[in-house]
């Protein structure tokens, strides 16, 4: 909005000479060799057409602009040009800066000498990839399509999936140096007005030179930027995005980014996957529980091992104590150091595997996992049991569908292990209490982050921790404050029959 007002203040540049206009535009682009201009005379009028070579579809310019202008006999002026040219989205511009910005976005500028305005038409040619299979949030089951970097394609997919007249996509421009288009997407009939207002306020307030990507945008607009937990869900799956919007959340799409942002998000939605919806409800519930247990194990196992070996031998059962003592007897390090070394190693393997090309990455896994794992035990660096524990907790952390949350959980393990090594179980439970308080304290778009546990909403347990059969779950989660709570009317024939009827 502010950009508009700035433009109005600049005084009109036109009318001017064609040659002056051409050189000024050249100067505006630092004499770039890519600015092409074509001048011609038609019925005694001097006309110039300017565009940037690789930003426009040239056939369109030749076919629908220059050809049309040259074929006709009439004398052109700005209005007649606007009427006759068969391309939509013509704009009247009167300042050099506006024209320059339009050209950068893939427009063509046409100026007829002596006229008050210059006309720009958007004929952009954007290099973009086709929508492909989702990579970071891969699904076995269900739609495979993922967002791409182009916001046009993404909005196209969203509109296609959310075929509803109340779908709103508000446009924002964010970024002072590199303006980026940001869209606020929601269903007006369902999404809560407060949420929309809050998100709108944050997007308008945001001052930054450039939003690189939607996950960067989330870090600008999050409630608490110092927390380790992500507070807004970033997804590359259109089905996830559209499902959440239909549930009454609001979404943000950022141009040049292959993922959408969902808000408000609660802690448990990071453990959901749309696949839970595609599979049957009992499997879905089981898998959701499994992920939550995995998260718990991932931050519990290694710290407990360290605490037990360092301070509380008495909690280890006798049978386990023998084998544990046997494999620990060769290890020269204190348990804390032992655990940190191994955890660090696992993180190294993961990071190296992620950075390397896929082909080499596989070798990494073998070298890192098997060779080093085997050797490290034989060399007496760590105990066998610790390897099992660390591998298990690393594995558990990868079951979390959200990459950001999985990383948060894995990183959180390190301070926990250190606390366990320093103060045993007291240290561990201190950390748990701290994490719980922190999670209760967090908010996402001013909505409680730990909902539906606190504030407790038992109806919302469905579709966050549990997953009930669809006929039972005909309500949208109250945590999102949807305007329309009911997803559908309850089926009428719910009367239970007797056995033989």
């Amino acid at each position: 909005m502010r950009r508009r007002s700035r433009k109005k203040t600049s005084s009109s540049y036109f009318p001017c000479e064609i040659d002056k206009f051409a050189t000024d535009i050249k100067d505006f682009f630092q004499s770039s060799p890519d600015v092409s201009s074509k001048q011609f005379e038609h019925q005694g009028q001097k006309i110039i057409v300017i565009f940037i070579n690789y930003m426009v579809k040239k056939e369109n310019i030749y076919k629908h602009i220059i050809h049309v202008m040259q074929q006709s006999d009439e004398e052109w002026n700005t209005e007649s040009l606007m009427n006759k040219i068969p391309i939509s989205g013509g704009e009247l511009r009167s300042s050099l800066k506006e024209i320059g910005e339009d050209l950068m976005m893939g427009s063509v500028a046409i100026y007829i000498e002596g006229q008050e305005h210059c006309i720009t038409y958007g004929v952009p040619q954007l290099e973009q990839r086709e929508p492909e299979r989702a990579e970071t949030e891969s699904l076995i089951f269900g739609p495979q399509i993922a967002f791409t970097e182009s916001i046009q394609t993404n909005l196209n997919i969203i509109h296609w999936r959310l075929d509803n007249p109340s779908l709103v996509t508000e446009k924002f421009i964010v970024g002072n140096e590199i303006p980026t288009e940001v869209r606020l997407v929601y269903l007006k009939s369902i999404a809560d007005d407060e949420n929309v207002k809050e998100m709108r306020r944050r997007l308008n307030k945001l001052q930054t030179d450039d939003v690189l990507e939607s996950s960067v945008l989330t870090q600008y607009i999050e409630d608490n930027s110092y927390s380790i937990f992500p507070q807004l869900y970033v997804t590359e799956l259109p089905d996830r995005f559209c499902y959440e919007i239909k549930e009454g959340k609001i979404g943000v799409m950022v141009d040049k980014s292959p993922s959408g942002v969902i808000a408000p998000t609660n802690f448990f939605s990071f453990f959901e996957s749309t696949e839970d919806l595609y599979t049957r409800w009992n499997m879905g519930t089981f898998i959701r529980f499994m992920r939550l247990i995995a998260m718990f194990l991932s931050i519990t196992l290694t710290p407990f091992y360290v605490a037990a070996i360092t301070f509380h031998y008495e909690i280890i059962p006798t049978a386990l104590l023998v084998s544990l003592g046997h494999s620990r007897s060769r290890v020269p390090f204190p348990p804390l150091l032992e655990a940190l070394i191994l955890e660090f190693l696992i993180e190294l393997i993961r990071e190296a595997g992620a950075r390397l090309p896929t082909k080499v990455g596989q070798t990494m896994g073998i070298v890192g996992g098997i060779v080093i794992g085997q050797a490290i035990v034989q060399a007496g660096f760590t105990s066998n049991i610790l390897i099992i524990i660390v591998a298990l907790s690393a594995l558990a952390s990868f079951t979390i569908p959200s990459y950001l949350m999985g990383t948060a959980i894995r990183i959180m393990r390190f301070p926990l292990i250190i606390m366990a090594g320093l103060w045993g179980v007291i240290g561990i439970f201190y950390s748990y209490a701290l994490i719980l308080i922190h999670v209760v304290k967090l908010q996402s778009l001013k909505r409680p982050y730990f909902s539906p546990i606190y504030p407790f909403r038992y109806k919302d347990l469905d579709n966050s921790i549990l997953r009930l059969p669809f006929l039972q779950s005909n309500y949208r989660a109250a945590s999102n404050m949807p305007k329309d709570k009911k997803r559908f009317e309850e089926p009428s024939n719910t009367k239970k029959r007797d056995i033989e009827e």
Binding site: H312, L320, V425, Y432, I437, K441, Y454
Partner: protein
């Protein structure tokens, strides 16, 4: 003193009272309670517990009556309204000191658990520091976080009750008989000794204005008392049945000792974990008490709540690091219990006449206006 106006997002539903009043009452006292009451009333300990419970129902009913008649006021507001500015200020300050005493006794007792069961060498000030940082962090988030974290801690520690199934299977029922051997005097002593353990319901005084649906306050606070009494009855009866009378007299914290028999395939000795887990049981007490102290200070004196909180935490840290011996902690606990008998159990009845007067006034006003 101004009446409170609470923004909507800070209001809580009445049924949370059920949980938070319960968590306030259950805490450090619980671990040693079976022995204390057993020393007085022997195998008939259930009688004083139930009598205490009945008295509590009466007290809560009285408190709710008083609070309802003053409508949107908390304790300091009621005191100034009914007793005048200066007396109100003095009595409110007394309550602040009393809340602080409760806070200190909880923290000192827990430090002792840790030192006896897990780390004999760990310094008191350090355990105190750990606890107090958590308290500071939670209270700093305001009432929403204080109640929320208490609720979450309740959920994450209540499952420990299920662990009692193991000792229950090993109960010797002869320990309960013969019944009705207890005299009136012992029952009286048993009720007195229970007072400290059951304290904490004073939270209702302060949290009342924050409650969204005030009509249900009475119901849910009474439920909380039922729940607490049931919990104490269960643990005490299990302890009496499980231990022989001689043994029980020797165990300072029978409940924690009970956890010693529990073992899982992965944990041989659960009591270590139980003591560490107990942090989740006492944190709601500490957090809510710290909130009460700092908030009452703010209400009474108009100081900033964060400074009150900071001063209180520093004071508590100094206190636990200087006075860390068993005798003193015991004395402090007893003293707090005795103060609680007056300020907790007795005080609502003192306010009763004022509440009745307030109601009469309200009625008169209504009559006039109509």
């Amino acid at each position: 003193m101004k009446s409170l106006s609470i923004p909507k997002e800070n209001q809580i539903k009445a049924w949370y009272l059920f949980i938070i009043l319960h968590t306030m009452q259950v805490g450090v006292g619980m671990a040693g309670y079976p022995r204390l009451v057993f020393m007085e009333a022997r195998q008939d300990s259930w009688i004083p517990i139930i009598i205490t419970g009945l008295i509590l129902h009466l007290v809560i009913a009285c408190m709710v009556f008083v609070l309802n008649s003053f409508e949107k006021e908390d304790l300091p507001g009621i005191l100034t309204k009914s007793m005048g500015k200066y007396v109100g200020l003095v009595v409110s300050s007394l309550f602040v000191i009393y809340f602080l005493l409760l806070f200190l006794s909880v923290i000192a007792n827990y430090i002792e658990f840790v030192q006896v069961f897990i780390f004999p060498q760990m310094k008191s000030w350090f355990i105190g520091l750990l606890l107090l940082t958590l308290v500071w962090y939670a209270v700093y988030g305001g009432i929403r976080v204080a109640i929320g974290s208490s609720f979450v801690f309740f959920l994450s520690s209540i499952w420990m009750v299920g662990l009692l199934h193991k000792p229950i299977t090993q109960i010797d029922s002869r320990n309960y008989f013969p019944m009705f051997q207890v005299g009136l005097d012992e029952i009286y002593q048993g009720v007195l000794i229970s007072s400290y353990t059951f304290l904490g319901f004073e939270l209702l005084w302060m949290v009342y204005p924050f409650i969204n649906d005030k009509k249900r306050v009475g119901r849910y606070s009474q439920f909380a008392i039922v729940f607490t009494v049931a919990m104490y009855l269960l643990t005490t009866m299990v302890a009496i049945g499980y231990f022989s009378p001689r043994q029980l007299e020797e165990k300072v914290w029978p409940l924690l000792t009970l956890f010693k028999v529990i073992s899982f395939p992965m944990f041989e000795r659960f009591d270590i974990l139980a003591v560490a887990l107990w942090i989740l049981v006492i944190l709601p007490n500490l957090i809510l008490l710290a909130w009460m102290v700092s908030f009452t200070c703010k209400r009474v004196h108009g100081w900033k709540q964060k400074y009150c909180l900071a001063v209180m935490i520093i004071f508590s840290l100094l206190f636990v690091s200087i006075f860390d011996d068993r005798e003193l902690v015991n004395k402090l606990t007893d003293f707090t219990g005795r103060v609680g008998l007056f300020l907790g159990f007795g005080f609502p009845f003192v306010l009763l006449p004022f509440a009745i007067r307030q109601r009469m006034k309200g009625k008169k006003k209504n009559a006039k206006s109509s």
